[in-house]
Structures are given as C-alpha cells and as structure tokens.
C-alpha cells in the first residue's frame, strides 16, 4: 500500500513528532466476516500532541480503525501500540483513552455533573478533587452553570460540549472523536470546530478525529489521513492534501476538482505532456504517472483557472460558457472545455470583473504546476 507520510511535516506547531509516536498502527488488518478486509494493512504513526483526522467516505474503514484503537473491535491481524506498549490485549477501560461519540452517549439518567464524575469515580478520585476537576472541565467548555441539568435538557451543542468535557475530565493523553459534530447544524458545527481546536491547543492532548466532512478535516487537523477502501490514500497536512493530492481519489474527495482524462505522451522530469481524449495537448505536473504511454487523469482546481488570461500560462484552451451560477463572493462558471462540459471555473466577484454571459466563447488558462497528472480513473 502507499502511504505518503512525511509530506505534512512542515507545520511549525507540529514539532511533537520528535518525541516519538503516541499511537502506532503496525500492519493492522480487520475483517468482520472473514471474507473481505475492511482495513487492509494499516501502518500509521500518530505523534504525541498531534491532531490527526481520519477522513473518508462511509465504509472506508476509518471508524473501524478508531474502534480498534479504543478497544471495542479486536484487530484481525497486526499490532496497535500506545506509548510503545502493545495494547491488543488491553481491555478498553484500561486503555485510558477519552472518547467522544457520534451521538454523544451522555448517560441520560445522570446529570451533567454526574456524567463528568463518572470517569473520576471509577478511578477512585477523591470527592473534593472530583468537584474541582468537574468545575474546571465545565468552565473549559463554558457550561459552568449547567452541572445540575440532565442531558435531555441541553441543546445539541451543549450536549456536544459536555461530551468533550467528559472525555477530557480524567486527563487522558489521547482523545478519540467519532464524527462528534455530525448531528449539529452548520453554524454550530463551525463554532465547535474552533472550540475543539482551541482545547487541543491549550491542553496539548493527542486527538484522533474521524469525519467524512472534508472542511472539518481541513480546518482542524495537523495531519489528515484520507481513507478509501480500507487503505490510507494520503497522509499529509491539510494544505498539502489540497494542493498536492497524490491520486485521483484524494483530488476528488478533497475540494472541488476538474478532471480531464488523457494519455501521457512525453515526460521531461519536471513536467509531462498529456494528450487529452479530444486531442488537445496539456503540460502538467506528473505526480502519479508511470511514464509515456500511460493513461492519466489530469486534476485541476476551479479557482486556479483564469478566464481570458492576461499573462501567458503554459496551458491556454478555448472554452464555451454553458452556465453561470451566482454565489455572492464568487461566480461558478460551467464551461465546455476540451469536450468536457462539466468544466468548472470559479471567478471571484471583483469590482472590475469583465462582463460574461452564457454562450460566450472565452479562453481559459492555467499553469502547468496547477494541473496534476494523476492515476487514471476507471
């Protein structure tokens, strides 16, 4: 399998990796039915203090990985290490890992304070210290006055915060979050993203976060592991992930993407020449192609394309505007370029924008480094 680790080791705040991995998946496989592998040979190091997100469509194996780490699912093969200790035979309650569940899993028969006291009670923490810790945890999520309420009396966002506070109240080194914001509305979700991010920065805990929402993954994480089909497709920091996708799946899954399929005709180290299916020639960045003669899908971000380019980029093509969609801050232009009528260009809504209308013939241009020649999509 291909794991493109290391690309993301560029963020300054993510220096903790030098201290050794907090979590290590070593050749982990998982099968539920003995016929198909849900997780295929997973190798992953998570550094102490890191915010790592497992991102992928449903059924890609990301939640299974989290459940194996938490101890609720046994690994079929391979070993998982926590602080250099193999934990395959350690039951979940002895792993000391905090966890935030998708539906919060706050105990409905206990008050908020009792929910927070639970992990402390089972650890035999003294009464006075319990109260002190509960108060601090509730203050941290700005719910100081809500200790006496039942979970059902709280809003979704408040329940979410209680769940986070409960997962942190016993000072775990590692916290797992399984799509914790899935049930919230968009605005609250964005707010909670920042709150969780800040808590992570303030406490320095290691967080493994599972989501299928790419925006969430990009805004919060130090590194993102993109899962598909039981395999990590790419493991990088968010900016690298977006700007340098390593294969077509990642390019398509993260952000919006124009794909043009063709064949590599020449490679000269830095660049390669691609002949599209309608005969057009492009200069592209050969990220994931074998060499001249191989099929490829060229990936191109809509915001990197210029309409009627003033300077002279490597690639300039003719296009016909099919549809204009007004989105406020930008305008989505659907065009027919090189035989592809799903070609999207984002035009910023600037004061000096040129008037365009449907049916216009316009030149579109982009530089070679902005279009990535990736593996061919079947």
């Amino acid at each position: 399998m291909e794991v493109f680790a290391g690309d993301g080791v560029q963020k300054a705040e993510w220096k903790a990796i030098s201290r050794g991995a907090a979590v290590k998946f070593d050749g982990v496989q998982k099968s539920y039915d003995g016929e198909t592998l849900v997780v295929k040979d997973l190798n992953l190091d998570i550094a102490r203090g890191e915010f790592l997100t497992m991102l992928g469509p449903s059924g890609s194996g990301k939640t299974t990985c989290l459940m194996m780490l938490a101890g609720f699912e046994p690994a079929t093969h391979g070993e998982i290490y926590l602080n250099e200790q193999g934990i395959n035979n350690v039951p979940p309650h002895k792993r000391g890992i905090g966890m935030v569940f998708q539906n919060y899993a706050l105990f409905p028969h206990m008050s908020v304070a009792e929910n927070l006291a639970f992990p402390l009670q089972v650890r035999g923490v003294g009464k006075a210290e319990q109260e002190d810790r509960i108060r601090r945890a509730l203050d941290m999520v700005e719910l100081g006055a809500f200790g006496g309420r039942r979970p059902a009396q709280l809003s979704g966002g408040q329940q979410q915060r209680v769940a986070v506070a409960r997962a942190l109240v016993f000072d775990p080194e590692l916290v797992l979050m399984d799509e914790p914001l899935g049930a919230l509305d968009k605005q609250l979700r964005e707010q909670m993203q920042y709150e969780i991010k800040h808590i992570h920065e303030n406490l320095g805990v290691t967080i493994v976060y599972v989501t299928h929402d790419q925006t969430e993954a990009l805004t919060m994480s130090d590194r993102v592991a993109v899962f598909n089909d039981g395999v990590i497709q790419q493991l990088s920091s968010p900016d690298v992930l977006y700007e340098s996708p390593q294969n077509s799946f990642v390019a398509q899954f993260i952000g919006e993407n124009n794909k043009l399929s063709g064949e590599v005709v020449a490679m000269d180290g830095a660049n390669c020449e691609v002949r599209l299916d309608d005969g057009t020639l492009l200069v592209a960045d050969p990220v994931n192609v074998k060499g001249a003669g191989s099929r490829t899908t060229v990936s191109l971000r809509p915001e990197r394309i210029e309409l009627a380019p003033s300077d002279e980029p490597e690639n300039v093509l003719d296009g016909k505007i099919e549809e204009l969609i007004y989105l406020g801050d930008h305008i989505r232009v659907r065009m027919n370029v090189a035989g592809n009528d799903e070609f999207i260009v984002k035009v910023r809504n600037r004061r000096d924008k040129r008037p365009i209308s449907e049916g216009d013939m316009v030149k579109v241009g982009w530089s070679a480094s902005d279009c990535k020649a990736l593996d061919a999509v079947a």
């Binding site: 979940p92 792993r95 890992i97 966890m99 569940f101 899993a105 105990f107 409905p108 639970f118 992990p119």
Partner: protein, 429 residues
C-alpha cells in the same frame, strides 16, 4: 389551529382576552374549530366505549355493590325487622310477643313465595344453623294457627328461637347495607361487642391474601431473573437470530394455557419425568421423590413459565432502544464490564423492569387456572377462593368483598409503585 396563528397580534382587546378576527374570544373560536374533530374522534371510540361500559364497568360496579348490599333480610321479613328495632339485644331478654307475631305474618308470605330458605342461607354465613332453622320453621309455620302466643309456638317448633343470639344476628343484619361480607373477607365478624377477629382456627382469608401477595412477588422476581438475560440476549443478537429467539419466546402464547399447565403436571408429579430422571441418575432414591406439584413450588414454577413472555417483551423493547454506545462510552471512561453494566446499562432498563414487573405481578395476583390445577391446597390463590364462592358456595357477597379487597390492594400497590418508581418511568415499548 390555523385560526390561532392567523390572528393578528393586535387582537388583544382592553380586557386582555385574545380575540379572533370576528371579535369572538380566541379560545371559544378555537374550541369551535376543534369541536368537529373531537366529535369525530369520539364517534370512532364510541363502540368500544359502549362495549367496555356494558360488558366490563357495569358488571364490576354491580359486583362491588353486592359486597355491601343486604336488602334480603328487610325484604323477606319486613315487619319483623321493623318491630325488632325497639328490642335491645343487650337486655338479655328475648324479643316480646309483637316481634314473634310479626315474624309469623312475615313467614307466611315468605313461605308462600318460597324465599324463606334464601334468607336462611344468607344468615347462615353469619351464624351456622340459621339455614336449618328457617327451613324447619318454614315447614311448620303453615300449620300454625293464627292465634298466639307466638313466642311459645315458635320455641316449640325449634328451641333455637329462644336463643338470644339468633335474634341478635337477625337484628344486626337487618339494615340494607352491611360491612359483614368485608369483615368476613378479612377474618373478622360483627358481634354484640363490635368488630372482632374470628377464632384462630377459622381464619383463612388473611393468610390467603398474604400468600397470594408473596407468591405473586416471587413469581415476578423469578420472571425477572429468567427474563432479563433473555431480553439482553435478544436485544444484542443480529436481527435474524433475534427473530428466531423471539418466536421461541412467543411460542407458549400459541399453545393452550391448559395444555401448558397439564404439561407441568406431567413433568413435576412424583411419578413424573423430572423425578424419574433424578431417581435414574441416583440423585434421590425412590422413596425420596420430590414433591413439586400440588403445592406452592408447582404454582410458582408453572406460573413463572406462563408469565415469562410478559416480562421479556417490555424488557426487550426497552433494551432495544439503548444504544450500545452508552456501554462503550462507560468503558472508554474507565468502567469495568460490571460497572458499565450496573451503573450505565441497568439504570436505563429500569423502565422495562417496571413495566414487566407490573404486568406480571398484576396478572399473577388474579391468576386462577394454574393455581387451581397445580396448586393443591397450599398453592391456591385468593382468586380460587373467589371462584369457589361464586360457583360453589354461592356466597356472592363474600366473593364480591374479596374481589373488592383484591382490587384495592392492587391499586394501593400501584400507588406505592408510582411513588417509588414513578409510573411515567414505565415503558411498554
């Protein structure tokens, strides 16, 4: 409802009443709008309501009334009752001639209508010998001349008429309503000195009530102990296996109650399957065969089996709604398997336990067929005694009193349960 939302906010007049657009108070116009709907719903439930009232509520009310109703004395010997009013039972003297004369006239009519024996049976519940006294007197009184002195004549017929206690009983039970049945039902009686407990050897009902309660509780408890793991298993199995297991749980519902109870007879009796097996493996010898039927053991075993589905179903339906993530969360927070179960899972199943326990207990406390068949003498319930008074001894008043007490008992327990557990915590599905 729409009329409420359509009302402009300025519709509040000076008097503070919110009004609809045409000036009628909003409440009234809302009620009018809903009237049709209410009428419709009422018509939909009307047939069932009528059925329940006619076939259920009215007979029960009639039965409850019988537990205190006592018009028979007053209706059969009206003049005697009237003249007896001035007689003082504590005086130590027999009633005077006027009373005997009245009794003579009353009995003439009663014997003509052949209702004097019924009065005898009624009074026999309170004092034995009264039935025979009235039957004998009824035979003789027709031949009696209409001339006095009646007192001597009656004593000639039967010297019991000289017994002051006989007259005291007649006087005591002459009012149209009597607490007699209820006193009987709690092993007490009305004597000249007031309410007293019956002699030790004549008390049966209090013991029977107590036994019914204790055994119902034991049955409920054993249903819970057996049903809880099954409910847990059912709710944690994949749907296919759960459905199969569910069919097995419901299987007893599809077999006749009588067949199931008889099957237990075959299994449990001293020459039965279980005893034979235990003898065969030499666990017990042939002389020491276990007595497991026609006693309390038999009743508890058979009734636990019969009522088990009523415990499993509510438990299952509640357990099904408990997300497995609660237990997972508890474990991730550091709770061992047992702590996670006991502090997180179990409290959430309490509504199911409540529902199942109430259902089983209430069914058990009024159960009749199974204790009758496998209970012998020591394993019968109060309901068997009620049935006996309804169909054999024909003492309907006492049966009604016993039934009323049973009903009140269940309601009292229900109230206590509500105070402790809370009835809104009960979930049937």
């Amino acid at each position: 409802m729409s009329s409420a939302t359509d009302t402009p906010t300025d519709a509040i007049a000076g008097d503070g009443i919110v009004r609809a657009a045409d000036g009628t108070p909003l409440k009234r116009s809302l009620a009018r709008a809903l009237r049709r709907e209410k009428l419709r719903s009422f018509l939909l439930i009307a047939p069932l309501l009528a059925f329940v009232v006619i076939s259920f509520l009215l007979p029960i009310a009639d039965m409850l009334f019988r537990s205190v109703e006592n018009n028979i004395v007053r209706d059969t010997i009206p003049e005697t009752v009237q003249t007896l009013a001035s007689w003082d039972a504590d005086s130590g003297e027999l009633p005077d001639e006027r009373v005997f004369a009245a009794l003579y006239r009353d009995l003439q009519i009663a014997v003509e209508k052949r209702i004097h024996t019924r009065l005898g049976s009624r009074l026999n519940y309170e004092k034995s010998g009264m039935s025979g006294l009235f039957r004998k007197t009824g035979r003789e009184v027709r031949r009696l001349e209409a001339e006095g002195p009646f007192r001597e004549r009656f004593i000639e017929i039967d010297e019991d008429w000289a017994d002051i206690e006989v007259w005291a009983v007649i006087k005591r039970y002459s009012p149209p309503y009597t607490p007699g049945y209820f006193l009987n039902a709690v092993d007490a009686e009305l004597t000249a000195e007031g309410v007293e407990m019956k002699p030790e050897n004549e008390r049966i009902y209090l013991t029977l009530f107590w036994r019914t309660l204790v055994m119902s509780l034991m049955i409920t408890l054993s249903c819970l102990l057996l049903g809880y793991p099954i409910g847990y298993l059912l709710s944690h199995l994949p749907a296919r296996s759960a459905n199969l297991l569910m069919i097995l749980v419901l299987l007893p519902f599809w077999t006749s109650l009588l067949v199931r109870t008889s099957a237990w007879k075959v299994l449990l009796q001293q020459q039965g399957v279980i005893n034979d097996f235990l003898v065969w493996i030499n666990l017990i010898d042939d002389a020491g065969r276990l007595v497991m039927i026609n006693n309390q053991t038999g009743t508890i075993i058979a009734m636990t089996h019969i009522l088990l589905p009523f415990m499993i179903l509510p438990l299952y339906s509640v357990m099904q709604t408990i997300s497995p993530s609660y237990v997972r969360a508890a474990k991730s927070l550091g709770a061992s398997d047992w702590t996670a179960f006991w502090r997180v899972y179990f409290p959430q199943t309490v509504p199911g336990i409540g529902a199942g326990a109430i259902l089983v207990f209430i069914l058990a406390i009024g159960y009749y067929i199974t204790p009758e068949l496998v209970g012998g003498t020591s394993g019968i319930f109060i309901s068997n005694r009620i049935a006996y008074h309804i169909s054999t001894s024909l003492n309907w008043g006492l049966a009604a009193a016993l039934g009323t007490i049973l009903l009140l008992l269940v309601m009292a327990l229900f109230y206590v349960y509500d105070r402790i557990v809370g009835i809104d915590n009960v979930k049937l599905g």
